[in-house]
């Protein structure tokens, strides 16, 4: 494997305590050496990327994506989804199990990580918490973890039965896995005759759409936290996926004050948009949990600024154009997000709301790495994986969903101004996005990474 030098960039590695101009040598998929500008020792024969004026940071980690493979390859594949991840600066993505079939087995978990899938960044499967994600029978977490699962979740089909959730938390704690819950009491948001399709409130009333109440989310968050408290001895780790309400954030904040292992993530659309952005039935503003009120959105911003929210995760959920081009109530939930998360976070969290760059990057790398226990990632300390993003922090650009790498284009941020342009994404020492810096342009622009 060739060595790679990133020269002249501003290295920001909050976990490693670095915030300075540094050259960095990547070798054999690892960070080999970090030195002041021009001071690298073992630089012979390495390919050089000139990062003058650019920021060099740990590759981003998205702990909540849907890659749609196996089963729904017309929406996305592991190859296209990871290409989109690389274009967005991500070097690791954790893939939810709501594939077809549901990833509830070691076989599927391994299949998703196989080199044949053509991933250009690392895919970490999140296995189903229960068999078929039906919420009845807890899976064999020992086998799933051995196959490479980094967490368990029935995302989208939350575990409603108390007994099953308690068992999942206990079983996961025994093997050191996190239980990720999509908190939604689906008994309140679906009936035999209808399904709610947006946030409950005045906007939904005016549009004549059935609403999902805040309580449908926060009631599950609060119940799950009660269970973590009951199981306190076992120290289970509950991670609340895509929090969207002020009450959920308040519940997580209180749980942490009580010393419980409860974490949460927020998606850019939830801290940027409100139910008003549904406009006139824009199906690219339909997701679950839905876009909430401005009071909820503001509570999420506060929670990002004060540290209650641990990670920014996109809930990247590709759907084909024809699937979204239907009546709002019939359209599938979800939007893509891998190619806009960094640009939106820098534009709003950093530039507008003044969250220091290092903390924004922590939310996108070191903290999700810690939540999923991804050793050697989320930092560029010597010896860690050579997962790097190099971006121009000042560059403003306009996002065009149709020009993205994802197979799907369902984004409410089409045409939005982004800040921070990714120049290179390097996954375990290989350039996964961006053109090679060599004068002759000889190196391949991207290559797939080896399987586990």
């Amino acid at each position: 494997m060739t060595a790679l030098i990133i020269r002249g960039g501003h290295l920001i590695d909050p976990a490693g305590g670095v915030d300075a101009l540094k050259d960095i040598l990547l070798k054999d998929g690892r960070v080999a050496e970090i030195a002041g500008p021009g001071k690298l020792k073992a630089a012979d024969g390495a390919e050089v990327l000139d990062a003058t004026g650019l920021t060099v940071a740990p590759g981003l980690i998205d702990m909540h994506v849907h890659l749609r493979e196996p089963g729904q390859t017309h929406k996305e594949t592991i190859a296209t989804g990871t290409a989109a991840a690389a274009a967005g600066g991500f070097t690791s993505v954790a893939a939810m199990p709501n594939t077809s079939p549901v990833n509830d087995s070691p076989e599927t978990t391994r299949w998703m990580q196989a080199p044949e899938r053509g991933a250009v960044v690392r895919v970490f499967p999140i296995a189903a918490a229960t068999r078929g994600s039906k919420g009845e029978v807890v899976n064999d977490y020992v086998a799933l973890k051995a196959a490479g699962a980094v967490a368990v979740s029935d995302d989208g089909l939350p575990i409603l039965k108390d007994s099953v959730m308690r068992e999942a938390l206990a079983a996961a704690s025994r093997v050191g896995l996190t239980v990720i819950q999509h908190a939604e009491d689906t008994r309140l948001t679906h009936t035999a005759n209808w399904s709610a399709s947006m946030n409950a409130g005045a906007v939904a009333f005016k549009l004549g759409l059935r609403g999902m109440s805040n309580e449908a989310e926060s009631a599950i968050v609060e119940r799950d936290i009660r269970m973590v408290a009951e199981l306190r001895e076992a120290r289970p780790h509950l991670h609340v996926a895509h929090v969207s309400t002020a009450a959920s954030v308040a519940a997580v904040r209180q749980a942490r004050r009580n010393g419980l292992r409860v974490s949460c993530e927020a998606a850019p659309h939830h801290f940027l948009l409100t139910d008003e952005h549904v406009g006139l039935y824009d199906t690219n503003a339909k997701m679950c949990p839905p876009l909430r009120s401005s009071a909820d959105r503001d509570a999420l911003i506060e929670a990002l600024l004060d540290g209650v929210i641990d990670a920014i995760a996109t809930d990247h959920a590709p759907h084909a154009v024809h699937e979204k081009e239907v009546e709002f109530e019939r359209a599938p939930n979800g939007i893509i997000g891998l190619e806009t998360a960094l640009g939106l976070s820098l534009r709003w969290l950093h530039k507008e709301w003044k969250l220091p760059l290092g903390r924004v990057l922590n939310l996108l790398s070191a903290q999700p790495a810690a939540l999923l226990n991804l050793k050697g990632r989320g930092t560029l300390a010597v010896g860690s994986f050579a997962d790097v993003v190099v971006f121009d922090p000042k560059a403003e650009w306009t996002y065009r969903a149709r020009e993205g790498k994802s197979k799907s284009h369902n984004s409410p941020f089409d045409g939005w101004t982004m800040q921070g342009k990714v120049r290179w994404t390097i996954s375990e020492g290989r350039i996964a996005y961006g053109t090679c810096g060599a004068a002759d342009g000889a190196c391949a622009p991207s290559s797939t990474i080896e399987g586990v």
């Binding site: 409130g201 009333f205 759409l209 009450a247 940027l272 952005h277 039935y281 503001d298 709002f328 709003w348």
Partner: protein, 355 residues
């Protein structure tokens, strides 16, 4: 666990909400929100002029133009009056319903719309159970689309024919409406507001003409936030005699009747009450419009109902057939209003100002 939202430490700028797009086609009627009072007045005037016109002359206005009726829900009044209206202007009409078409085979609304356009339809009249379906059809076909009821959202021609009926009773001869035309008028709308597109269309239209809309019903069918639904409509006023244009809510039917010049009743579907654990007999005791109630609390009011009526449920047969009822006048007004709306659909110019 407290659920209160902590006050924001600072005021933060957030991304703006883009203005809702206008309909693509100036002949479309998707909701009344986009219709100016001038356009509204023009439609009312055209309805009267067309109604009075010699039928043989009128038939030349849209002679041999093609209008498709696309109905995903059953309908008597709306479908027939749109059809008669279009035919009165000379247009050819064709009816496509979900029960006897490729819709049953899974064809999407977009594809059905494109097919109708390819068959030569110049305008589509759509009735659909999903809120917002008319926007989808218009954006897919770029044809003028007339919303004949979309889910729980809007039923604009119903509100227009209701307005024409109200004007005939309270402001005879008036066709030019302004923000003061219905000043001092209270219109009560009673029944299943939550599921009603008729209620939404009327409650968003009438306050723009100066009326006070009093929504009445049990909380299961009338959430408090209904009063906040309209842009530009003042927030809910306290007390039953506050007056002034806007939307108010009351749970007391007799108090609502006492204040109303117009009493609009909505259909109650028994199965909906069952789903909400509402007792039918309790509902009738509180909200049924009966002869004695009408005589005691609103002896001068005009009674409206968009139909279909369920005699003996929300309204008694005696009231429906009684002297204060204008229910059949509404139906007749529907044809005149829909003539004006269909004429506008096929004569509005893309280049011209959006009406």
């Amino acid at each position: 666990m407290t659920q209160t939202v902590a006050p924001a430490r600072r005021t933060l700028a957030t991304p703006p909400v883009a203005a809702s797009p206008f309909p693509f086609h100036p002949g479309s009627l998707l909701s009344l929100d986009h219709l100016t009072l001038e356009s509204l007045s023009h439609l009312l005037a055209r309805a009267t002029a067309l109604e009075n016109q010699d039928p043989l002359t009128r038939m030349r206005i849209l002679a041999k133009r093609r209008v498709a009726l696309l109905f995903y829900e059953s309908s008597t009044r709306t479908r027939t009056s749109f059809e008669l209206a279009a035919k009165s202007l000379g247009a050819d009409t064709t009816l496509v319903s979900d029960k006897s078409s490729s819709i049953e085979k899974g064809e999407t609304l977009k594809d059905t719309g494109l097919t109708l356009r390819a068959l030569g339809a110049e305008a589509i009249i759509l009735r659909h159970p999903s809120s917002g379906a008319a926007w989808l059809l218009e954006s897919a076909t770029r044809l003028p689309v007339l919303n004949a009821g979309d889910g729980m959202h809007q039923h604009p021609t119903q509100a227009l024919l209701d307005l024409r009926t109200i004007l005939a009773h309270l402001r005879p001869g008036v066709t030019t409406v302004t923000a003061e035309t219905l000043a001092g008028v209270t219109v009560s709308i009673t029944g299943d507001i939550l599921h009603s597109r008729v209620a939404r269309s009327n409650m968003l239209l009438l306050p723009r003409l100066g009326a006070r809309v009093l929504l009445c019903g049990p909380k299961e069918l009338l959430p408090e936030l209904a009063a906040q639904a309209g842009p530009g409509i003042p927030p809910q006023r306290q007390g039953p005699v506050a007056g002034g244009p806007g939307i108010e809510i009351t749970r007391d039917f007799e108090a609502a009747l006492r204040q109303s010049q117009i009493v609009m009743m909505l259909r109650i579907q028994a199965e909906r009450l069952a789903g909400l654990q509402l007792d039918l007999e309790e509902y009738k005791a509180a909200y049924q419009l009966t002869g004695p109630r009408l005589a005691a609390f609103a002896p001068m009011a005009t009674v409206l109902h968009p139909g279909p009526i369920i005699r003996g449920l929300e309204i008694t047969a005696g009231v429906a057939d009684g002297p204060q009822s204008a229910i059949l006048e509404q139906v007749t007004n529907g044809v005149a209003i829909r003539m004006a709306v269909v004429e506008r659909a096929l004569t509005a110019s893309i280049q011209g100002g959006r009406a």
